[in-house]
């Protein structure tokens, strides 16, 4: 239960939500609700620290792992918490960042210089702490929050006879606070039955969506003045953020999540069968896909459906080896177009997608099919049924040479078939590529058959399936749904179609341009809306972790 009725506004909300309340014409007694509590991702954390404290801050530490919920890591940020090992790392990182920020090299960047570097200076400390507090918490600090940090800074500066040595701990306490590590999104009545995010929460949602980082000073000012909760003010900020080159950072983060490219962190390949594979190739493959997407979506402002069919890509030397194409270039990355005979089709046939969804030593039409259906069509394959007797498939058969022969055996069992018929057909069209993405025509000596039937339609090879996905209206719809869920940190499967209607229509009318979709989402009220708080349920009770 995410909605929770509260009886009074906290001090923080009085400060933060005041403008919104005024804008909505409600009395200060109006209720607010905390809609989500989202743990910062590793990239969000790193980008935020770099933007708040400036370049050159080194962040060394381990971040807690994330999981996928409804196809997105972003959705798990509203589910996961901070474990002891995770906090241990956060507290160390916070201290190490504070040491650097207050160190001799960088302290000239601080917004205040103490009267004496060897003594406490509460006014100066207060100025510094409230400045960074606003940036870190994405809202002004409350009086109590600021006072406790000034006191800590004072005590430790006095004991050590060093202003900066005290400041280090005051700052570190902010960087490891839950208000930084979690994005707390708060909604207030927004007219009608619906609630809407108060301006500071709006600023954060917008900024992390478009730039994958914490709101900048201008956005925070737009939150402070309440401008963000007016149509004109919101449009202005969306326009500004979208015009910035930093939009690429935000979209890379989104596609890294949607295309599940984080899987590369743990992909391992059989080094005897595929000696070419290594970390360099894995990193290159991920980069190739991100470059392709950004080039199409932002640089060329193209039709997003072409992701399924384009033969344009970017390669470097190690990818050229996988794709078996010459690389007569001195630069690191070059734009490359596969020939029409290469059988390649968009990101479907890039080393990234082919390798991530394979076994270490062999391709897997099932894994590829399951992944592609889920990633591009938002159609997850159900879990296999209980206690399936796989022996039906395996024991009676003689030696089966191709994966297709082995998989076709599933069709003899209607229980297996119900799921495998969902996932395998798409996967089978990609069998012309091995487990690391190299082209092949034979498997174990046998010619590979690349034909399949999807919902009655005959399809051949990667190009056939690329065209099928390109023309399938479920693909752009799924992209829009994932973008919306990503921005809100919720499960894709729970997105209400009505919430997407306007933005999606704009996406279609534009010819499937990503910017049109983004703009429609970011400017629309739906992205920031929340259902009204549910009435309080029976209080107390032990809470299960879910």
């Amino acid at each position: 239960m995410r909605k929770y009725l509260v009886l009074a506004l906290s001090l923080a909300l009085l400060a933060a939500g005041g403008a919104a309340i005024a804008a909505a014409g409600k009395s200060p007694a109006a209720k607010s609700e905390i809609v989500t509590l989202r743990r910062l991702t590793q990239e969000e954390y790193r980008n935020s620290i770099a933007d708040i404290f400036g370049a050159g801050i080194e962040i060394r530490g381990v971040f807690e792992p994330t999981i996928r919920v409804g196809g997105l890591l972003a959705a798990s940020t509203s589910v996961l918490s901070v474990t002891p090992a995770g906090f241990e790392s956060y507290t160390r990182m916070a201290d190490s960042i504070a040491v650097q920020v207050t160190g001799e090299k960088l302290r000239s960047r601080l917004p205040c210089t103490p009267k004496s570097p060897a003594a406490p200076d509460d006014a100066c400390a207060g100025k510094i702490l409230s400045h960074y507090g606003l940036m870190l918490f994405r809202r002004p600090l409350t009086d109590d929050e600021l006072k406790s940090r000034i006191a800590l800074t004072h005590t430790l500066a006095a004991r050590q006879k060093d202003f900066y040595a005290g400041l280090r701990y005051g700052l570190a306490s902010l960087i490891q606070a839950p208000d930084f590590l979690f994005r707390k999104e708060v909604a207030v009545p927004g007219g009608g039955d619906q609630y809407t995010l108060e301006p500071y929460s709006r600023a954060a949602r917008l900024s992390y969506l478009l730039w994958n980082t914490t709101p900048d000073a201008e956005l925070l000012t737009a939150a402070e003045t309440g401008a963000l909760n007016s149509d004109a003010g919101l449009k202005k900020e969306v326009g500004r953020l979208m015009a910035s080159p930093r939009l690429e950072v935000g979209m890379r983060a989104f596609f890294n999540d949607m295309l599940e490219l984080d899987n590369f962190d743990t992909v391992s390949k059989d080094s005897l069968l595929y000696p070419k594979w290594g970390v360099a190739i894995a990193n290159s493959a991920r980069e190739e896909t991100l470059r392709t997407v950004i080039d199409l979506a932002l640089t060329r402002d193209g039709d997003m459906r072409d992701l399924m069919t384009t033969r344009q890509t970017f390669i470097n030397r190690s990818l050229a080896a996988i794709y078996q194409v010459p690389f007569p270039f001195s630069g690191e990355w070059v734009k490359y177009e596969f020939g029409p005979q290469a059988g390649r089709s968009g990101i479907l046939t890039q080393a990234s997608m082919l390798a991530m969804f394979s076994h270490p030593g062999r391709s897997s039409p099932t894994k590829r099919g399951v992944a592609l259906m889920d990633i591009f069509l938002c159609e997850p394959t159900p879990n296999p049924p209980n206690n399936v007797d796989f022996s039906i498939i395996n024991n009676t058969s003689g030696p089966l040479k191709t994966v297709r022969q082995r998989l076709t055996a599933h069709a003899t069992n209607p229980v297996c078939a119900s799921c495998h018929n969902h996932s395998d057909p798409i996967g089978l069209t990609l069998e012309g590529f091995d487990t690391i993405g190299g082209h092949r025509t034979r498997e174990n000596g046998e010619l590979i058959d690349l034909t399949t039937k999807i919902r009655g339609q005959s399809i051949t090879g990667a190009e056939g399936v690329g065209r099928y996905l390109h023309d399938n209206p479920k693909f752009p719809a799924c992209l829009a749904r994932k973008m919306f869920a990503y921005a809100r940190g919720e499960n894709t499967e729970r997105v209400r179609p009505a919430a997407l209607k306007t933005a999606y229509a704009g996406f279609v009318d534009s010819g499937y341009h990503l910017r049109a979709l983004l703009k429609g989402l970011a400017e629309g009220p739906e992205l920031y809306s929340a259902p009204p708080p549910a009435p309080p349920s029976g209080s107390g009770g032990k809470v299960a972790m879910h």
């Binding site: 239960m1 995410r2 929770y4 923080a12 609700e33 905390i34 989500t36 509590l37 807690e64 792992p65 999981i67 589910v79 996961l80 918490s81 901070v82 474990t83 002891p84 090992a85 995770g86 906090f87 241990e88 507290t91 201290d95 109590d144 406790s148 800590l152 005590t155 430790l156 004991r159 701990y169 490891q176 606070a177 839950p178 208000d179 979690f182 743990t266 391992s268 059989d270 005897l272 069968l273 076994h359 270490p360 030593g361 062999r362 879990n383 296999p384 209980n386 206690n387 399936v388 007797d389 796989f390 022996s391 395996n394 024991n395 349920s537 009770g541 809470v543 299960a544 972790m545 879910h546």
Partner: protein, 443 residues
């Protein structure tokens, strides 16, 4: 509720000492009691060990129960430590009204005694965390987890829900966590508390002070997540308290130099290199009282271990390798089963290599080894193999094969916790709820 300012003041009448000698004296004074107590019995350590895909029934279940069981093909690798190991066959995992979440229901049932209601989520704290709540006070880390295959998500140690306690992903990362900054070497004669720790404590104190405000207005599930954050803060505070104490255990071990960065993944040759190293570090961690609870995993459920050149790998083999009509089982899968037992032995041998008191570290441990399935080919759960090792400081008899006779797998968990001196009447839920430990093993 402890007065948070207490920590700030330390034990020196409100004087926040930073470097001063008087403060150190004061701290040493307060340490007098702990030093006097160093003659007490060694703590009993608890470790869970996870490996994927079970064993082959025809090859591991001994024909007879008791101490004189004849060794079977797949238990042969454990033979060197047979006298310190218990083997449990014939155990039942009941999913009750939940689906059989493939490669997950068995993990959840073995680790919590509860049939999981969701894929990849635990319905309660895992057994190691339940034990840690009781035994870990005073150790530097409440628990530590490590993944030999190098994936932080391969941890089957959890406070409940989807949030597992992340595993250390290489010998180097495990080493750094244990013996990097903050480590107090008990074998060093010139031990001094690190004044920096006191300062960090005061930071934590300020962070923890915000608890009440931070918990306000949150919905139930977010409240519990925020609560977990503050529990983690509390654990960091306890960890720092422990770092200010002179280490109590006079371990007869030397802390080695940091290991090198190495490839940690599912390739068997790498696992064979990494597992003993991780195991040695786990053993040292427990011997030096860095932690009393350790979780080790060698793979995920549905193990992706592979031998280079075998394009199927372990998990695919369990589903695709035909059952040999003459042998009656899958020979290649059976080989992988044996490799898993060899890896398990390497863990136990490292624990057994450290002399402690009148025996070895292993004798003062209880190792609880579990897996995800009984028969991987069809994800069958009945007869899921369970192993324990170590005699829990003399509380558990060892060297036995116990035939569970269709009783729930939770009986092993209950027995283990009884051996750990944890007072509880029953363990598990639904038809796996049990009040019957294997009393024949308890001393």
């Amino acid at each position: 509720m402890l007065d948070r300012r207490f920590l700030l003041r330390g034990s020196c009448q409100g004087a926040l000492a930073v470097m001063g000698l008087p403060f150190l004296d004061c701290l040493l004074d307060s340490k007098g009691k702990a030093l006097a107590a160093s003659g007490r019995p060694l703590p009993t350590r608890f470790s869970t060990y996870f490996y994927g895909l079970g064993l082959t029934k025809q090859l591991w279940v001994p024909k007879t129960a008791g101490k004189d069981y004849e060794v079977t093909e797949q238990l042969k690798p454990l033979q060197p430590l047979r006298a310190k190991i218990n083997v449990f066959s014939g155990l039942r995992v009941a999913v009750d009204n939940n689906p059989n979440y493939q490669h997950w229901s068995g993990v959840g049932a073995s680790a919590t005694g509860i049939s999981p209601t969701k894929m990849s989520q635990f319905d309660s704290k895992t057994i190691d965390q339940q034990v840690a709540d009781v035994v870990s006070r005073g150790a530097r880390f409440k628990s530590v987890a490590a993944s030999c295959a190098g994936d932080a998500r391969q941890s089957y140690s959890s406070l409940g829900g989807a949030n597992t306690l992340p595993a250390e992903v290489s010998p180097l990362s495990l080493y750094t966590r244990l013996f990097g900054p903050g480590f107090q070497d008990p074998s060093k004669g010139d031990w001094k508390p690190d004044p920096q720790v006191m300062l960090q404590q005061s930071v934590l104190s300020v962070v923890a002070d915000d608890r009440k405000r931070a918990m306000q207005e949150l919905g139930a599930s977010d409240r519990s997540r925020m609560d977990q954050y503050f529990t983690s803060v509390r654990e960091a505070e306890l960890q720092m308290q422990a770092e200010l104490q002179r280490p109590e255990i006079e371990a007869k071990v030397a802390i080695p130099a940091a290991p090198e960065e190495m490839a940690c993944n599912n390739a068997l040759p790498n696992l064979r290199k990494v597992t003993p190293l991780m195991s040695r570090l786990a053993a040292l961690a427990m011997a030096t009282d860095q932690t009393r609870v350790f979780h080790m995993s060698v793979s995920e459920p549905g193990s992706q271990i592979f031998i280079p050149g075998d394009s199927l790998g372990y998990h695919q083999s369990t589903h695709e390798e035909p059952i040999d009509p003459l042998l009656g089982y899958q020979p290649r899968v059976a080989n992988y089963n044996v490799y898993n037992m060899e890896l398990f032995l390497s863990y136990l041998q490292e624990l057994d290599a450290i002399p402690e008191g009148d025996g070895t570290l292993l004798d003062h441990c209880l190792v609880y080894a579990f897996t995800d399935v009984a028969f991987a080919k069809i994800h069958a759960l009945d007869g899921i193999p369970m192993l324990t090792a170590g005699s829990a400081n003399g509380r558990m008899k060892t060297g036995y094969h116990i035939n569970g006779d269709g009783s729930p797998v939770s009986r092993v968990g209950l027995t283990a916790q009884k051996a750990m001196d944890i007072s509880l009447e029953s363990w598990g839920s639904g038809s796996m709820e049990t009040k019957s430990p294997f009393t024949e093993l308890l001393v």
